[in-house]
């Protein structure tokens, strides 16, 4: 089944693949070409990052990564991404709930479009967009530009779709009989939600949260105009890597990049494990 909405980063449990035919000569050739392209484009370059990071040995890698300014950047990035993910868990689930269950709400179609905007909007434009409401010319009279709050807002904006879009299809397919049974036995709405609905949603929420965390940690474009990139204060990891690249310090850039790759890798494995569990249950 396809979900009813544009869901860029929903997990793909349907991709746990059923058994198919064995490769023919033509399809084997196709697989070879595809793998060659994928290697040249993705696998070899990412390997180059890890190899370059380890070129100088463990001591040099560790020194680069634990450099005071780099550590501050990693701390800010991971901390903010974590906080934003917590908010996404609550707000994303709430938004998904309203979109699926509140079928008399006329504004749903508009909300659907709003949720996908952060995915389709270029990140540099996302920064500009937030700056126009929360920057120096804000009609609200607040100015968060060049502060850590700006990093928080940028992450919140770009990670908005993830939890919503992973929870929404699961919520839509949920069997309502158990809820009705519980309600008819006198359970309050809150009890029904906590005891019956929430357990079925947990894997989807977790998958969405992992994706949202990964996206936050790797964010760059939306911060360029918004956060000022002040060292030790608002500089995130991606910006730190970029300034190493611009100073022609590719080894240093690769070391910090390797840390980000490890974080992405852990997240991908986590999502995969969670989805396998979902599939087994379903």
């Amino acid at each position: 089944m396809t979900s009813a909405t544009l869901a860029p980063d929903r997990p793909a449990p349907r991709r746990t693949v059923r058994s198919g035919r064995r490769l023919t000569r033509a399809s084997g050739l196709g697989l070879g070409v595809a793998m060659l392209w994928f290697s040249l484009l993705v696998l070899i370059p990412l390997t180059a990052v890890v190899v370059t990071a380890s070129d100088g040995g463990w001591a040099e890698f560790w020194a680069t990564v634990t450099n005071q300014q780099t550590l501050a950047a990693i701390e800010l990035t991971v901390g903010t991404a974590f906080l934003v993910t917590l908010i996404n868990i609550v707000m994303g689930t709430t938004i998904a709930w309203v979109l699926v269950r509140d079928d008399r709400f006329v504004g749903r179609r508009v909300l659907e479009v709003l949720i996908d905007i952060p995915f389709a909007l270029p990140t540099i434009v996302a920064g500009l967009v937030l700056l126009s409401l929360y920057g120096p010319d804000s009609p609200l009279g607040v100015n968060i530009a060049n502060t850590r709050v700006a990093v928080f807002f940028a992450f919140l904006f770009v990670t908005l779709p993830f939890v919503v879009r992973t929870v929404q299809p699961v919520l839509a397919e949920l069997d309502r009989e158990a809820e009705e049974a519980a309600a008819s036995l006198g359970a309050s709405r809150f009890t029904v939600f906590r005891r019956i609905i929430l357990p079925s949603l947990t894997p989807a929420i977790a998958a969405g949260a992992a994706l949202s965390f990964a996206r936050g940690v790797s964010e760059y474009g939306s911060l360029v105009l918004l956060s000022g990139n002040l060292p030790m204060r608002t500089e995130v990891t991606s910006v730190r890597i970029l300034s190493s690249i611009e100073n022609d310090n590719l080894e240093g850039a690769a070391a910090v990049a390797a840390v980000l790759l490890v974080i992405s890798f852990v997240v991908i494995v986590a999502v995969d494990v969670i989805q396998r569990r979902v599939v087994r249950r379903g």
């Binding site: 089944m1 396809t2 979900s3 009813a4 544009l6 860029p8 349907r14 991709r15 746990t16 693949v17 198919g20 035919r21 064995r22 490769l23 399809s27 196709g30 595809a34 993705v42 070899i44 370059p45 990412l46 180059a48 990052v49 938004i95 309203v98 079928d103 504004g107 909300l111 659907e112 709003l114 949720i115 996908d116 905007i117 389709a120 909007l121 270029p122 990140t123 540099i124 434009v125 500009l128 967009v129 937030l130 126009s132 009989e177 009705e180 309600a183 709405r189 790797s218 964010e219 760059y220 474009g221 105009l225 991606s238 890597i241 590719l250 850039a253 980000l260 790759l261 997240v267 991908i268």
Partner: protein, 278 residues
């Protein structure tokens, strides 16, 4: 559907909680998305049509827009061919390492664009890259040239077509394909007559999403392009450059063009996509 409506009369009565939830969600999305995005439109027309005319009459901006469209279209074509091919292989065939490949295909979605740019520079960079010097001595420059921008764009948008096509392929099954083949159709004929029509809409969504993503890529392109005015500067890089050079009007006008494309893509997909599966 029917029993859902009759059975949940209790739940469907809008209680106070429901109104609170509606309000919270609406306020949150207005403050985070709707209002800021609307302000871009207002700021772009802050000086009437001058800013928009300004960027459209600036040969460097026009060049950047052209480059962006060329790169995006090329990247989408590559990703569509690769995406449909790899989806067919994943769904219809068995081969060792399939599960690993399946997981690796999603990697580009969670890698920072700056890391993507760095990775490509390390391999294709003209001075010290793994393959770069060899390619360059053969007269083929990748980094700081258009091929690098295309590679970066293809990388970041890689999984989008696959994510749309694989579920459709799995849902339709391969009975029709087998029937066609048993009636004597060749592989190409089966693909064009049977497979392609059934996955048509999946491919269309994937293409629209990839196009939106490709037109808007910024970080990876910034690293590999060199950002040379009139040569390798793309539309998103124009937004940054204009804003940092205190041409806010120009930045907002360019941003508006990119926003319109993004919103159009979302609306196209949400209108085309059937609201209820089946």
């Amino acid at each position: 559907m029917a029993d859902r409506r009759t059975g949940t009369a209790v739940h469907n009565r809008p209680g106070p909680a429901r109104h609170v939830l509606r309000l919270v969600v609406t306020v949150y999305l207005v403050l985070l998305v709707a209002w800021p995005v609307a302000l871009v439109g207002r700021n772009a027309f802050g000086n009437g049509l001058t800013d928009l005319e300004g960027i459209l009459n600036d040969p460097d901006v026009v060049h950047a827009l052209r480059l962006t469209v060329t790169v995006a279209v090329t990247a989408v074509l590559i990703n569509t061919v690769f995406g449909v091919g790899i989806s067919l292989l994943l769904v219809r065939y068995d081969f060792p390492g399939k599960r690993l490949l399946n997981a690796l295909l999603d990697v580009p979605l969670s890698v920072s664009p700056i890391v993507v740019g760095l990775a490509l520079v390390l391999v294709y960079g003209g001075r010290s890259g793994w393959f770069g010097p060899t390619l360059e001595s053969a007269g083929f420059q990748v980094i700081f040239a258009t091929p690098g921008i295309v590679l970066a764009t293809v990388f970041v948008a890689l999984p989008l077509v696959i994510r749309e096509v694989v579920p459709v392929l799995q849902e339709v099954g391969d009975e029709q394909e087998q029937a066609a083949r048993s009636l004597g159709a060749g592989a190409v004929q089966t693909f064009l007559r049977i497979t392609l029509p059934t996955i048509k809409w999946g491919v269309v969504y994937g293409v629209v999403l990839s196009l939106a993503r490709s037109l808007g890529e910024f970080g990876a392109v910034k690293v590999v392009s060199g950002n040379v005015l009139g040569q390798t500067r793309t539309a998103t890089l124009v937004v940054e450059e204009k804003y940092l050079n205190f041409d806010k009007g120009g930045a907002y006008a360019t941003a508006l063009l990119l926003t319109l494309v993004a919103v159009a893509a979302i609306i196209v997909v949400s209108v085309l996509r059937p609201k209820e599966p089946r």
